[in-house]
């Protein structure tokens, strides 16, 4: 029973990640892409790890996964924040016209 619930939650996490990758190709603006990227890392990975914890039951292994989850929860918004802030401070005016959609400037 727990395995089925865990598999379903892992599948939901994969769906989050797939939508994130889709959005990465759909949006051309830098900040929108950063938003989508943060969503992949935070929501997708955390849902994935919750699924793994539920699937394995509560043991020492799931405690380690929980610690990794807490680190993800702290670090991923931080990296997104640092990237957005540095881009805002150092690159003046990234717009849709200048970004060719291939990552170059």
């Amino acid at each position: 029973m727990m395995e089925i619930v865990g598999n379903i939650i892992i599948g939901i996490g994969l769906v989050f990640m797939a939508f994130g990758v889709l959005g990465l190709y759909k949006f051309k603006d830098f900040y929108l892409r950063l938003l989508v990227l943060a969503k992949i890392d935070t929501v997708g990975a955390i849902t994935f790890m919750v699924g793994i914890i539920i699937r394995h039951g509560f043991s020492f292994f799931s405690l380690k996964v929980f610690l990794i989850m807490v680190l993800f929860l702290i670090l991923n918004p931080l990296t997104a924040h640092i990237i957005a802030r540095t881009a805002y401070l150092s690159i003046e005016g990234i717009t849709q016209d200048q970004d060719d959609g291939r990552g170059g400037r």
């Binding site: 702290i74 924040h81 540095t86 150092s90 170059g104």
Partner: protein
């Protein structure tokens, strides 16, 4: 599964070789190192995978620091190279390397040794490492027990490399003034507070890797790089240069002397056979000394890159 990963691996390597912008080279190299670490894990080598991940993240940071100071990240790698050449000229440039590489590869394939892989040493080590050296990690037992010469000379190589970096970078600028050397923008309070939460976790993780190196995956090298990354993170956030460079340098040399002394005492003078009850203490202390050595070396290398004068 492993073949899909290998195809991605080789593709990212080719992209890194042929890319023209520095930032793309760095990103492709990071992808390449991460995929190779996953491949190492699938080959049953978690220690090597951990070392590869740690080294790749470290070297990504110092490549960015080094390139950002001296070159511009978004321009071409070779801006001075002549463009619009004729096809025949290009062909005459590209044909000899192709032929040379193909000849070397052909020789390599022609002289393949016959037979299968010899498993004598593998069986011997796997059978005897628990009784001869101790510990439960065969890899740690090998590089601290059976083949301790390799570890000694690796530490010597790292020491020589650190001395070389310190010798070739110019010395006078950084020790006089304590001003900011970095080109990054100043960090705000969100970064500082979050890193204050994270930094103890990084140190604890490094110490965990070092202290559990003989029973589980990990060891001196990986833990040493994790501890060094704590200091690098501290620099990147607080943006201060208050490392006493000469003291760390002499500490590193003393650590190398301690490693050599301990290894020669235990392995070559036969303490190992006389006192079997302190084998675990030997493994843990050797791992800690190696971790100190590696972290000192990497801190010196990173801070020398930071302290280079700007162009």
């Amino acid at each position: 599964m492993i073949y899909v990963l290998l195809i991605f691996w080789i593709t990212s390597a080719i992209l890194a070789i042929q890319a023209r912008k520095l930032i793309r080279i760095i990103v492709y190299l990071a992808i390449f190192s991460t995929i190779s670490a996953v491949c190492f894990f699938m080959f049953g080598a978690p220690d090597v995978a951990m070392a590869e991940v740690a080294v790749s993240s470290f070297s990504t940071v110092f490549m960015i620091v080094c390139f950002e100071k001296y070159f511009t990240l978004v321009t071409d790698v070779s801006p001075d190279a002549p463009k619009d050449l004729k096809f025949r000229y290009k062909l005459s440039k590209i044909l000899p390397p192709v032929v040379f590489t193909l000849i070397l590869a052909g020789l390599f394939i022609y002289f393949i040794p016959e037979g299968t892989v010899n498993t004598y040493l593998k069986d011997l080590y796997l059978e005897r490492f628990r009784f001869d050296v101790g510990g439960e990690n065969a890899v740690t037992s090998i590089y601290l027990g059976f083949r301790v010469y390799d570890t000694l000379f690796e530490a010597l190589m790292l020491l020589i490399s650190v001395v070389g970096v310190a010798h070739m970078s110019c010395r006078s600028e950084h020790e006089i003034s304590g001003e900011n050397f970095s080109g990054v923008t100043k960090s705000d309070s969100v970064d500082v507070y979050t890193i204050r939460i994270i930094c103890p976790a990084m140190l604890i993780f490094g110490m965990y890797l070092v202290l559990n190196g003989h029973v589980s995956a990990g060891g001196g090298f990986q833990g040493g790089i994790a501890i060094a990354s704590f200091f690098i993170c501290r620099y990147l956030i607080y943006n201060v240069y208050d490392v006493r460079y000469g003291k760390i340098m002499s500490f590193e040399k003393m650590t190398f002397a301690a490693i050599a002394l301990l290894a020669s005492l235990f392995i070559f003078l036969g303490f190992y056979v006389q006192f079997p009850q302190i084998r675990t203490a030997y493994l843990i202390s050797m791992n800690m000394l190696i971790a100190m050595k590696v972290s000192f070396g990497f801190i010196i290398i990173f801070y020398r890159y930071i302290a280079f004068e700007r162009r």
